[in-house]
Amino acid sequence: MYPVAEQQEGAGGYPAADAFEPGGGLGWSRISPRYPWHRRIVALLRAVAAGAVGAFLLWRGGGTVAAVVWVAAVLTVLVASWVVVEFAYHAHGYAEREDDLIVTSGVFSRRLVVVPYGRMQFVDVSAGLLDRWMGIATVRLHTAAAATDAEIPGLPAAEAALLRDRLARKGEERSMGL
């Protein structure tokens, strides 16, 4: 088959079903269960704002039916995102392996990023107003490549700080330039 695959121990036995597993007997570290609720609150706030403003404008424009349709559409999107968020929560995961951090995410387009600790330029933790109220934070890894974009949202704040410190330490141990 693939020469790349075979020079790796056990790689030949990578079944397609396990393509998004961390491998090496590890399991995914999951994010906080408060994360979907965070997303839902954001979605709800947006839906209320968009629905109210859009419906009001349409109603002023004389289209009562159009306003009702608009509200129905917004509600549909809200319900859909309510469900999708649950899947998104289950899709997120990260695992700290010996030499690299592996992060997965995505519901419709799935992605999996392997970032070697030595390549991390900096790690930042960010939390907005709502995040802080819910006690969660986002950890983001930066390498020299803009495409890397490894992001772990919805971590409990304390865990996020610990993870950041751990990553920074491991990065420093293995650091090298570009």
Partner: protein
């Protein structure tokens, strides 16, 4: 002349192994493979894994014999997922040193091969080392440009044992060239001519914005040029004031900028009253350019740009230094960054290739979009003349502008393109009006793309695009070409110089899954211990190469369509640039296996050659 410069540009017959458009696997052994199996290979011992047609393969440790060799015995490492694993370790097929061996990457045809050019970064020949104490001020080594210093006054010095007649009589000797400026010692300023130059620029701006309108007087028929004494007086007074201000500004700017080298840092201080000091670690230098715009060429000035990895405004530009001083500064910074003393003379270089003007012009024109635009332009002109249809201007003008942008502008920019290698990096020189000299130190090239537009493939030509971390924003578009048009063999050889120890053509590529929703039958990917190669493009074929040691991260992505087909794309991420490497449409399990193995290869490559600072004095791990 050691390089192929003196030789014909080697127009490479349509390529010994024309990579089949259906993305077929390259034959693993046998002589038609381009980079090896040449009659001129000096060492044809059994230790060389790629030498001509081999007997039914008795070397089980050969890790690159291709995916489906005809001789797939059970002991062969690549006979299938159940096959025995090859011993991993330094014994790759390309030698242990990570340096191509002599004669390995020969052009595919049987022509005499140009003298081998060693990979830059590895310097078996030794003129470039710590300088020996010479008798003049500058250190001497064979081929140094500086003659021994002679006393400037007094009778001509007669060397004992040498006839005096080569010396012209006193007063007639050409003045000895001034000793090079030592930028590593003391504080330096820009060339003094920058002060009058800046004053001149300010005066031109003043004249256009203010001076010329002052000369105009309002008459009955609008504004007119009427030079009455009071108008002239008004103009003169203001001009003198503006002139003084311009000279002051020029002087101020010249006095304000100072720079010096302190330890391992380059320090740039700007400002007289409010000082802004920037301290740049020399080990962070990604590339150094010497640019000479047309205007400054007249005054023999040059700009030195030091590129650092760090975004849009991270470069330092010294505008302007004297031409020689610019060269010296470049050489000193590179020497210091390489870990050598700053007064090390400029590293010698070996020319690799010079793009003939005809090749460049033909290459720029023989592209399908250019030909299409040209036809469109001609048709619109015919319409315009035959039917007196003025609306056709709306087609003709954009087409003409597009042609200028796609052919004329690159032609002016990349004229006289020469590539040379030296221990302190790859040197590119090009430009018709504005000449540039780019130096990319070893290990600073992040990714390389061999681009072959459809017509070029028939001619056996290729272009080399490159990602260097320093160039951001606008400069990225300007400086991301390593070779604008050249025979493919030259391009491939240059890739081997950039990523020592391997060759693009020697990496077996495996086609992407046939289930992919694409017409792109050239899709394929492969790897060896040094590089990861991904090929794609149906009409314009791109072969993107990234060294494992330079990979930032590895990504696996599945979009909704791929998800239905159980496929995935593997990205090997490089810093932002023109070349991004991705292997599209791999089987899902295979893709994940590629991710894992690429991550592992990157790890071991980083462990051996990841650190690129102080490349001249660092001990290579292999040695």
């Amino acid at each position: 002349m050691t390089g192929p410069q003196g030789q014909p540009p080697n127009p490479q017959p349509p390529n010994g192994t024309p990579q089949p458009p259906n993305g077929d696997v390259q034959p693993p052994q046998g002589d038609p493979q381009p980079p090896n199996g040449n009659a001129h290979v000096p060492h044809s011992g059994p230790q060389h894994p790629h030498n001509g047609p081999q007997p039914p393969h008795s070397a089980p440790q050969h890790p690159h014999s291709g995916p489906q060799p005809p001789h797939s015995g059970p002991q062969h490492p690549h006979s299938g997922p159940q096959g025995a694993l090859p011993p991993r370790g330094p014994q790759g097929p390309y030698g242990t040193q990570g340096v191509p061996q002599q004669g390995q990457f020969a052009p595919p045809d049987g022509r005499p091969r140009p003298t081998f050019i060693p990979a830059y970064g590895a310097q078996p020949q030794m003129p470039y080392g710590p300088p020996r104490p010479g008798f003049g001020a500058p250190p001497m080594y064979p081929g140094a440009m500086y003659p021994p210093q002679r006393p400037p006054y007094g009778p001509p010095h007669v060397y004992p044992g040498r006839p005096p007649f080569p010396m012209p009589p006193y007063g007639y000797a050409p003045p000895p060239p001034p000793p090079p400026v030592r930028f590593s010692v003391g504080t330096h300023r820009l060339h003094w001519a920058t002060a009058p130059l800046r004053a001149f620029v300010i005066m031109v701006i003043y004249f256009v914005l203010l001076g010329f309108p002052l000369l105009m007087t309002r008459t009955r028929s609008g504004a007119g040029l009427e030079l009455s004494p009071e108008v002239l007086l008004r103009f003169l007074i203001l001009s003198i004031v503006a002139g003084v201000a311009a000279v002051a500004a020029g002087l101020w700017g010249w006095l304000a900028l100072r720079f010096w080298v302190e330890g391992d840092d380059l320090v740039v201080q700007n400002g007289l009253l409010r000082r802004r000091v920037r301290r740049i670690p020399l080990s962070r230098i990604q590339a150094i350019d010497v640019v000479r715009p047309l205007v400054t060429r007249v005054f023999s000035l040059a700009e030195v740009r030091v590129e650092l990895a760090g975004g849009e405004h991270s470069e330092i530009a010294f505008r302007y230094l004297g031409r020689r001083a610019a060269q010296d500064l470049r050489a000193e910074l590179l020497a210091l960054a390489a870990g050598l003393p700053g007064h090390t003379p400029e590293a010698p270089e070996r020319p690799v290739y010079r793009v003939p003007f005809g090749t460049l012009l033909a290459g720029l024109m023989l592209r399908l979009p250019v030909i299409g635009t040209f036809l469109l332009f001609i048709f619109s002109l015919v319409f315009l003349i035959a039917f007196q249809e003025a609306a056709m201007f709306a087609v003709a003008l954009p087409a003409l502008l597009g042609l200028i942008r796609a052919v004329i502008a690159p032609m002016v920019m990349y004229a006289n393109f020469t590539v040379a290698v030296s221990p302190d990096g790859i040197r590119l020189r090009y430009g018709l009006l504005e000449t540039r000299m780019q130096t990319v130190p070893p290990g600073r090239v992040q990714a390389v793309g061999v681009v072959e537009p459809s017509i070029w493939r028939g001619l056996g030509w290729a272009r080399l695009d490159v990602t260097v971390a320093g160039y951001a924003g606008e400069r990225q578009a300007l400086s991301s070409t390593l070779l604008p048009a050249a025979p493919r063999a030259v391009a491939v050889q240059l890739v081997s110089l950039v990523f020592p120890g391997t060759s693009v053509d020697a990496v077996p590529l495996l086609p992407a899954s046939a289930r992919g929703m694409t017409v792109d039958r050239a899709d394929g990917a492969g790897t060896d211990n040094v590089i990861f190669v991904a090929r794609h493009g149906w009409l314009c074929r791109r072969t993107d190469v990234i060294a494992h040691a330079r990979a930032q991260s590895v990504r696996l992505t599945v979009n909704p369509v791929q998800r239905l087909l159980k496929l995935a794309t593997v990205h090997v991420d490089a810093p932002p640039g023109l070349v991004q490497v991705a292997a599209a449409d791999r089987e899902l399990g295979e893709a994940r296996a590629i991710v894992e193995s690429t991550a592992q290869r990157a790890r071991s490559a980083r462990a051996t050659s990841g650190d690129t600072t102080h490349w001249a004095t660092r001990r290579t791990p292999a040695s």
